[in-house]
């Protein structure tokens, strides 16, 4: 069964959400129930491939073991043994922690390389997204921010079914807070109403908006044709615009539904899209598009890289640090999407755009003087949208494999 697509999924949601609502309005905890419902839904998700199911189960056990291992490395007793201060752990422990991180990323890395050679290479649906969650947990245990993550809590965090296939990427501390929140009947009902709103908006996006985008990208270019070079260019532009609309409605639609479903289960799933086509520069765009991915990368890649670069004085200026950080960050995002030319160039492209934006904002006097004026914002918005749509053309493969023939 595929999630958020087949009628069977939506029909199953009726009893699943129904029971959650009964528990919620009676002020009963939703955690155990949500975990049980998630296990049931995942069995159905993986029902077509027993191999995937087994691999997924092994992955869960493996991740739980790794988290336990890193917890033990940085536990209070381990800290006091040989450290001069709590904030500078022993180098040997840091080395072991890095090995744990590498092991946590290894299944995804092997899978991404494997599918290049064999399309049905062993993996499971959601392996890309679950990796983010597991890596966040390891990093924050090392930072001392996660001290007592229970096995069942961590398991539920990993298998939480509304977001398992494509996010939004949850953060474990917020998840556990939500899980343990004692909500009154009114508080739960308010959450439920908001969730219902998100779910309906998401369904509208996915089942009305996305097909319109698809229609635009396939039908309109064929009307325009390719009789002259100008027409061919026009058809390509219309295709890219149609694809952009399609991807937005499809992904934002899915994400909004996941948010709504999460709310019904008492988990405040983070919002993934916030009017991305109103962005006035490319940084602004990434604060509005696939937000849970861009903030994850910001927190765990960009900021960590910058902190190390500043601390060890790798570069002369902070602008250089930021620019290199952006390119690294977004190239990694491209790699995460998949090891194809399209995705790699897409990631590099956005890294360079962000670096360019950073340079403009720091160095360009004209920008500093006029940035708050309406006409400047309008121009900046227009340039941003052109850059975004071209990025979508890279992402869809349109640039390197012309779909219009």
């Amino acid at each position: 069964m595929s999630f958020y697509a087949e009628p069977a999924f939506f029909i199953l949601l009726v009893p699943i959400v129904g029971i959650a609502v009964l528990l919620g309005v009676n002020e009963k905890p939703l955690g155990r129930y949500g975990l049980g419902a998630s296990v049931l839904m995942l069995l159905l998700l993986f029902s077509r491939s027993i191999e995937s199911l087994v691999f997924f189960a092994c992955y869960l056990v493996f991740s739980l073991r790794l988290a336990r291992w890193v917890s033990n490395l940085f536990s209070e007793t381990a800290r006091t043994d040989s450290d001069s201060s709590a904030h500078s752990p022993h180098p040997k422990r840091i080395a072991l922690y890095r090995i744990a991180l590498a092991l946590q990323i290894a299944p995804l890395a092997v899978y991404k390389v494997g599918v290049l050679f064999q399309p049905d290479f062993l993996g499971f649906i959601g392996i890309s997204y679950i990796t983010f969650k597991a890596v966040q947990v390891l990093i924050e245990i090392r930072d001392g921010l996660i001290k007592d993550l229970g096995t069942l809590e961590y398991l539920y965090f990993l298998v939480f079914f509304p977001t398992i296939t494509s996010g939004p990427i949850l953060r474990s501390r917020k998840f556990v807070d939500d899980l343990n929140a004692k909500r009154t009947r009114d508080e739960y009902l308010q959450l439920l109403y908001r969730g219902a709103g998100w779910f309906m908006l998401g369904a509208l996006y996915k089942f009305v908006g996305a097909p319109v985008g698809q229609w635009a990208m396939w039908f309109l270019p064929s009307v325009i044709g390719a009789a002259t070079p100008a027409a061919a260019t026009g058809a390509n532009v219309v295709y890219a615009l149609g694809y952009t609309l399609y991807l937005f409605f499809d992904f934002a639609g899915y994400s909004h539904m996941a948010v709504g479903l999460g709310y019904a289960l008492g988990i405040e799933v983070p919002r993934n899209f916030r009017a991305p086509f109103l962005a006035i520069d490319i940084k602004d765009f990434w604060n509005r598009w696939h937000i849970s991915l861009s903030t994850w990368l910001r927190d765990f890649v960009f900021m960590r890289f910058s902190a190390a670069a500043i601390e060890h004085k790798w570069f002369k200026s902070s602008v250089t640090t930021a620019c290199i950080g952006f390119v690294l960050n977004m190239t990694l995002m491209g790699i995460w999407h998949g090891l194809t030319v399209d995705y790699l160039v897409y990631g590099l492209y956005h890294g360079l755009l962000l670096a360019g934006c950073e340079l403009m904002q720091r160095k360009w006097g004209f920008y500093k003087k006029h940035r708050r004026e309406k006409w400047f914002k309008l121009c900046s918005w227009a340039v941003t949208m052109v850059a975004v749509v071209f990025g979508m053309a890279l992402f869809s493969g349109q640039v390197f494999h012309n779909p219009l023939g």
Partner: protein, 81 residues
């Protein structure tokens, strides 16, 4: 360490990072909203706080709202000293 002393040192640090000489005059303003701090500025602040005061704050330890003004930054440092 006297409280005013900590405050002065943090303001000097912030002037150094942001180049905004008058930052001490607007102690409750949202530094992110005013475009005085961004992600990189925030990271630079964390690194410098570690160097100057020996306090380690992990990048995801605090929400932005918890350290978006001069006064809040001073509070967060005082809590940890």
């Amino acid at each position: 360490m006297a409280n005013e002393n900590i405050e002065e040192r943090i303001i000097e640090l912030l002037i150094d990072i942001t180049g905004e000489e008058e930052i001490g005059d607007y102690r409750d303003d949202d530094l992110f909203e005013e475009d005085v701090l961004d992600s990189l500025g925030a990271i630079e602040l964390l690194v410098r706080l570690k160097e100057e005061f020996g306090i380690a704050i992990a990048p995801t330890e605090l929400e932005r709202e918890e350290m978006n003004s001069v006064n809040k930054i001073v509070e967060r440092v005082q809590e940890r000293l």
